[in-house]
Amino acid sequence: MTTEPHSHKGPDIAHITLHNGLEIVVIPDHRTPVVTHMVWYRNGSADDPVGKSGIAHFLEHLMFKGTDKHPQGEFSDVVTALGGQENAFTSYDYTAYFQRVSREHLKTMMEFEADRMTGLVLSDDVVDPERDVVIEERRMRTDTDPSAQLGESLASTLFTHHPYGKPIIGFMHEIEGLNREDALAYYRRFYTPENAILVVAGDVTEKEVVRLAEDTYGRIPARGEKPERQRPREPDARAARRVVLADPKVEQPSVQLAWVVPSYKTADKGEAEALEVLVQILSAHGTGRLHRKLVMDQKIAVAAGAWYQSTAVDRSRLMLYALPHPDGTLEALEEAIENVLADIVQHGVEDHELRRAKTRLIADTVYAQDSQSSLARMYGSALATGSNLKEVTDWPDAIDAVTAEDVKKVTQKWLNRRHVVSGYLLKDEAA
């Protein structure tokens, strides 16, 4: 078996910039008469001003509250009546809004989305109940879930200085204080054509998209300059740290190990790809080293895996996790995970593991072509975090170029136990 790097290249993707600075990506998919229309803003929770954590996410909610031209509810009613689906999401580095509609309604979506890029109107009457909605969202996701609470502590321990350590949704005491003025100040700073990326995937041509975009987004004057992200750099870690959360509600303990690692944007050439291959080798379903060693051979874990946030503006995070067998301890499990890494640092990875990891990662790009919304997300998130189109398109070649030596080197360099942050989730037996 060879990996046969992408004999199938995928769709021809166009990349245009309008006169006002708005970037446009067009991804053709003519199988069904449907389009995915997304606008990405290059700002996320890591751009929240100090003391205003959660404002990026709160504003995302408030973007559905209407403009002078289209009062609250009108946009959503139109999307619904056209049989469309819509939503929005906020991450550390970006905020995105999308609709999925029948192809002939693309222009209507563009009109509404362009209108709310600069025309948002907010009153306390809509801001106040929406703040309560976000508070309930935080309670639902975090305050009722011990493992989510441990996740917050782990992040803030991992990133001591950089805002990736703060929760996207914000801290409860800061959400409670967010108001209309905070939202509008943040909105005026970031919601501009120069800061936005329009991604259209589906049954459309480049020419058509550009014509419609000129007629809608093109009418928004350029702001004059791009907003700057002001991000402090995370200092290099010097110490290993352990975060422990014990709660009477926990019946299934777990251990996580986390490190700050380069993202595609910050990495030296090939390092992010090597980390991607490493994570695949460690955690592929049924074949990953963590599963084979901890679950199958040593029988000290019931499940184990890994996760790498590779798409990010700044240095990002890589996590390994495992759930212990009922009779095992988290300390023993942490030690066993460290031994899996030490083995890779000492002996490297096998050729067949490397080949398999590449086959799978490259196949995933073919599977992604089956979904226009996956493709739109892939390109949108890459561009919103500072990668360019060519890097996305050439990604399979970059993965194919990773060597066993590269994998060994990044493991040694970045996943060092002397500055690991471990997170223990335990049952509080005393309570």
Partner: protein
């Protein structure tokens, strides 16, 4: 283009493929992306678990890709990974399903692995104990999760004494008792051509598929031996059950009897449910509970058309201090729909949404294969894709009002609440 024409071409593209011994599948050929997606379903699911051993179907589904034919678990997974084949099985209450996704150039290897998993899963001791431990960990993980607790309690009470009252994933007591013999017995009883439905989408032609069907499914026994399951209506409707958990928010689950998928009013009921709580940004529950009052982030309702006990259900999570208020708003919206039906405007918007969004269910090969299998399981016919939007368009306000009354009746619900709700 909010009319049936959007999907008309799709229905005519469905080919009925039949293997030499008569195994049938629905195929949509498409070469845009070089992959093949297959979805199969057999009747059964967790409702066919032995009464004292809930979790058997889920356990078996988790073992089918853990070693089969000449390959032990490790070798089986190595091979799947070598060819980037995605293969998996799952059990719902009424069905066992299998999914396969492969690059077109690995078609033969992929179908062969699926054949082995379906017919020759080894059920070796090592993976049995490993999967048992994983399922146990998953139950422990959910043990004090408020949504999972509310759901478990809802079904245990509403379907006490009925197979639907037993948890699909089993219990901490039942999992240790399930033996290899139980798993093998379940397979012998349920895996059969009689109830098998198959759909395939992607880069494969009918003749090639016919051969693959014979190879993969040809050896299955003809008949299943399904246990009779009575049609049940949920108990305890009109009551509330509160489960104490020290959290700042109450997780609420509500529901009552619904309509079978085969009911002539089912499409109308779907429209009515969309108006109540099916629409994300436009439903009554969204507007009243979330948008106007900020009581919850998530609030929704759905029709759960189980074969042996259909339901209308819903849920929300709201702070303890205002849980009673949230529930009373939900109850009053249900009562209002039951008594007065929807108004013209909301009916119109719901119909337009359900019609216009129909193609969004078919925009990936995997989703399309899943929809085709669903249509087969429910006996909707190959022309359903052409007919469906017409059925929605034909729903009048009088129909909707009548069906809302039929669906919600006197508005009574069985409600489970997990948390520390005040004033309930």
């Amino acid at each position: 283009m909010n009319d049936a024409s959007t999907t008309a071409s799709l229905a005519s593209r469905i080919q009925l493929v039949r293997s030499s011994s008569g195994i049938e599948a629905w195929l949509i050929e498409d070469y845009t992306v070089p992959l093949i997606a297959m979805e199969m379903a057999m009747l059964g699911g967790s409702s066919q678990d032995p009464a004292t051993k809930p979790g058997t179907a889920t356990f078996l589904a988790g073992l089918l890709d853990e070693g089969a034919g000449p390959y032990d678990s490790a070798a089986f997974h190595d091979r799947l990974d070598d060819y980037a084949i995605e293969l998996g099985f799952s059990a719902s209450r009424d069905q066992i399903s299998g999914q396969l996704r492969t690059l077109a150039r690995h078609r033969e290897e992929a179908f062969d692995m699926f054949r082995l998993a379906l017919n020759e899963a080894r059920l070796d001791e090592e993976p049995i104990e490993r999967v048992r431990a994983q399922l146990t960990a998953s139950l422990r993980h959910d043990a004090n999760d408020p949504d999972a607790m509310a759901n478990r309690e809802w079904f245990a009470t509403a379907f006490a004494g009925h197979p639907y009252g037993r948890p699909s994933k089993g219990t901490l007591e039942s999992l240790p008792t399930i033996t290899r013999d139980d798993l093998a017995a379940y397979r012998t009883k349920i895996f059969a051509r009689e109830t098998l439905k198959i759909s395939v989408v992607g880069a494969i032609d009918a003749a090639t598929l016919a051969n693959e069907l014979e190879r993969v499914f040809g050896a299955l026994p003809a008949k299943a031996s399904l246990s009779e399951i009575p049609l049940a209506k949920p108990h305890a409707v009109g009551t509330r059950k509160i489960i104490d958990l020290d959290i700042p928010q109450s997780s609420i689950r509500f529901g009552a009897a619904g309509l079978l998928q085969s009911d002539p009013d089912f499409v109308t009921a779907s429209v009515v449910n969309h108006i109540l709580g099916g629409g994300v940004f436009s439903s009554r529950l969204f507007r009243e509970v979330r948008e106007k009052r900020g009581l919850a982030y998530s609030v929704s309702s759905q029709l759960a058309a189980f074969d042996h006990g259909p339901l209308h259900m819903g849920g929300t999570s709201t702070k303890n201090e205002r849980a009673a208020e949230s529930l009373s708003i939900i109850e009053s919206e249900i009562a209002s729909l039951a008594n007065d039906g929807p108004n013209d405007e909301e009916l119109d918007i719901a119909k337009k949404y359900l019609i216009g969004s129909y193609p969004l269910r078919f925009d990936t090969s995997t989703k399309l294969a899943g929809q085709l299998t669903h249509m087969q399981v429910e006996n909707l016919g190959r022309d359903y894709m052409d007919r469906r939007n017409g059925l929605v368009a034909a729903v009048t306000r009088a129909d909707a009002a009548r069906v809302a009354k039929r669906l919600y009746g006197d508005g009574k619900l069985f409600v489970t609440v997990v948390g520390r709700p005040e004033g309930m």
